[in-house]
Point group: C2
Chain length 471, copies 2
């Protein structure tokens, strides 16, 4: 008799599989206020690794971390007309503080362009103060009517970058640098994700931006997920808040700005991009635990050996956890590590001590085989690199096999409905076609140039629209 | 003619000096909503270093990071009677979300015991799940009527630990471990602060705790500041939320809990503990920048040399910044680094190139002298260690010289009013004497045993009350 699967199979019900995995791998729970989320230690460990990797890249790009207040005067939001229109429906509003009704309600930040500009307007005086490159790690609240853990939650964690530049060109180039060299590079090399870089259509832009660059990933069911965005804000917020500088020529000029964000949604993407019917598969370069060394039974000799192997792998630069909880059945622990997607499991039992071998289970390609214990310290780092590449390659193949070039709106809708991505000339689709697709819950994920690069404008000749259903 | 001082001298007006320093060293600004704070990059850099050091120690103590929601149903707060009484006056309340009035208002977390217990009640089933050791890095909001940057702000950043244990003894020991081996050790060895460890009186305990352990520091003006607290929560929250476990004996038992926190207030303490009339003095082990290498002028040879020295010091394990902004006058930059309290400045001008020496300025003891450039890589790490010790020693001497043993309440009040700390037998003072002192804005900072250790109960024989004015 076959065992009941731990998770609902993806082919049966992808959303249910996702929910099962998030719960059984102990990534997150629902919080008590509708749409909020409790991030459990294993899920938070994934986020911490994302933070470490991104933070280093953000600092290398020249930005410094700072912190701006959670609560923003409601009137600030209204200073930039498109911005308030975009965010008003999602705001959480504090009306009482310290037992009294507030004179002016405060909104819980949905994003910080407004409150950041209130500071920038004070900090920026001269062209010598530019560029001003700031990043913040924070929580934000956007009221969510159809929440889904990590993907759409009323509160989420993110980093938001905010910069001010002397010229349009400098701001444009910086937004593009973050898009490609911070987000793109991190997501491809660490998250092992093949992503499309493009620009959003005017309809899909950030509220208040003049251009939004995006990275779009294809999930296991063929739907798209927006992974991170980098915005050119033009001078919209600078004019609303009076953020100006004295130029070399002695004139007062408004700054040019960017903002850019990536969020805990990336944890959800990790699940939907790399997960399989047995659970999560964590890319080795991201994994908080790259290898777990399991004692099958609690003999002293076995426990001593797993600790010894753990130490040797640690010395070889591997992030290791020793699992010596032998009062829990081995099978249950093995399934748990499989669910959590730890790339390598090394299993050691009493008989292995005699043979000098251990079972090496590889989560990403699957399968296990006995290997010499002495070879582990050189073998495991190699296996981890191989499996990192394998995940990226799988994500490349999925996108390539499920993307089609089409010539008509009807064909685009059909491809998207079948769980694929359609490429259609933007000159063919246009804002009207975009609106028609939206009626069928199909969106333009982004615009790309024929050669796969990011178009410099919406109407650059040869621009292609990438069309899909999305999360 | 003497130059006007950059800061109001401490002796003239300590609070004004503090405010001047926070502003001129670019640590923080006021936010637009009353009581909130913008933490500027240099101030945030200090906080990031504190986070790194504390996070490592918290993990070494066995706790894992997780994240709980910002918004808590209002009804949760009322489940523990003392807790709601303590926090109700400080709550910020969200009444509207997504454009609608909420059925139940949500409070912005002032602390997370309630929402954490809602999760713990689900996660803890068996004695095998204990101890459960969780930490969270987050922002909290407590409405503040008399805000002061870093010390009392309506929003602040902190870590809050929350743990559940099978027995009273295990919880008590863990709270004590955090108090001594995480907070005490970090603050003494990294922040260079001499602190008194003690227990709070019943009046000063955390709302909902059965015991609060504290670390109290003496600031430059002799007032006390609470630096971090570790609470034994008993079974108060466990009973309010039904957090129970199946014991080995097969009975259902309530868990015993702890919580413990340290906040951005530590940045304020750093200023008030170690600052002088020229600005901040950052303990070398904490300092994001331990040594700055300044080019006095913009000659190519000078710029090449400061970069070379920077590289050599980096290789020697020093956190270095090269200041080659020679379009800003040297004097202004030197004053700025002095304000920011960077422990070591190395100044290089054209004449130094010939002599092979550079000026080495030490911020902590003060003064500067020429040293051989070749000696810097071995000299600077030694100087940093010396100056770390020196700061701790200064803080020890201040406390020793300003603490007096007294026998009466009147004397205690007198000592406190003069900017000192008084030690008085708790049997002499008691809750009534504590109330009388409170009328003169003097508080019992903590109870200590005669030998300086932490008393196991409020009425242990020989317990001494430490009495002072405080921030």
């Amino acid at each position: 008799m076959a065992k009941a699967p731990v998770l609902t199979p993806r082919a049966d019900d992808f959303p249910r599989w996702y929910q099962d995995l998030i719960s059984k791998a102990e990534l997150a729970d629902n919080g008590p206020v509708r749409g909020t989320m409790v991030i459990r230690p294993y899920g938070y460990g994934l986020w911490e690794r994302m933070q470490q990797e991104l933070d280093g890249r953000i600092k290398a790009a020249g930005a410094q971390n700072a912190y701006f207040p959670l609560l923003i005067p409601q009137s600030y939001l209204t200073k930039e007309a498109e911005h308030v229109e975009g965010f008003a429906p999602e705001l959480a509003v504090v009306t009482h503080g310290g037992g009294k009704e507030l004179e002016e309600p405060a909104v819980v930040r949905p994003t910080s362009e407004t409150v950041v500009n209130a500071s920038f307007a004070k900090w920026v005086q001269s062209h010598r103060d530019l560029p001003l490159l700031i990043n913040q790690w924070a929580n934000v609240v956007r009221w969510e009517l159809r929440p889904r853990l990590f993907l759409r939650t009323s509160e989420f964690l993110w980093q938001e970058g905010h910069t001010a530049h002397a010229t349009y060109e400098d701001a444009r180039d910086f937004a593009a640098h973050i898009h490609e060299h911070v987000y793109g590079e991190f997501m491809e090399t660490v998250l092992a994700m093949d992503l499309v870089r493009g620009r959003k259509t005017p309809k899909e832009r950030f509220a208040g931006a003049i251009n939004t660059l995006t990275l779009e990933g294809m999930m296991g069911d063929g739907k798209a997920l927006q992974m991170g965005t980098s915005h050119e804000l033009g001078q919209n917020f600078a004019k609303a808040f009076g953020t100006r500088y004295l130029s070399k020529e002695g004139t007062q000029e408004y700054v040019w700005q960017t903002s850019w964000g990536s969020t805990t949604r990336m944890v959800g993407a990790l699940v939907m991009m790399h997960g399989d019917d047995h659970g999560l598969r964590v890319p080795p370069r991201l994994a908080p635990v790259q290898a777990v060394v399991l004692a099958i039974k609690g003999d002293e000799a076995v426990l001593a050996k797993v600790r010894e192997i753990g130490d040797r792998l640690t010395a070889a630069g591997v992030r290791v956890q020793v699992d010596d909880r032998t009062d829990t059945p081995f099978g249950r622990r093995a399934v748990d590590w499989e669910l959590k997607g730890v790339p390598v499991r090394i299993e050691v039992g009493p008989r292995d001590l005699e043979s000098g071998t251990a079972m090496l289970a590889r989560r990403i390609p699957g399968g296990k085989e006995p290997v010499s214990m002495d070879a582990l310290a050189s073998l495991v780092p190699r296996v981890l690199e191989e499996d990192q590449d394998r995940l990226l390659e799988e994500s490349r193949e999925r996108r390539a096999s499920r993307t089609s070039d089409v010539a008509s709106i009807a064909e685009a809708a059909e491809v998207a409905a079948a769980g694929g991505w359609a490429r259609i000339p933007w000159s063919e689709l246009g804002p009207e076609g975009e609106a028609r697709l939206a009626e069928q819950s199909v969106t333009v994920r982004c615009l790309v140039a024929e050669d796969g690069s990011v178009p410099q404008s919406d109407d650059a000749p040869g621009t292609v629209a990438l069309v899909a259903r999305s999360y």
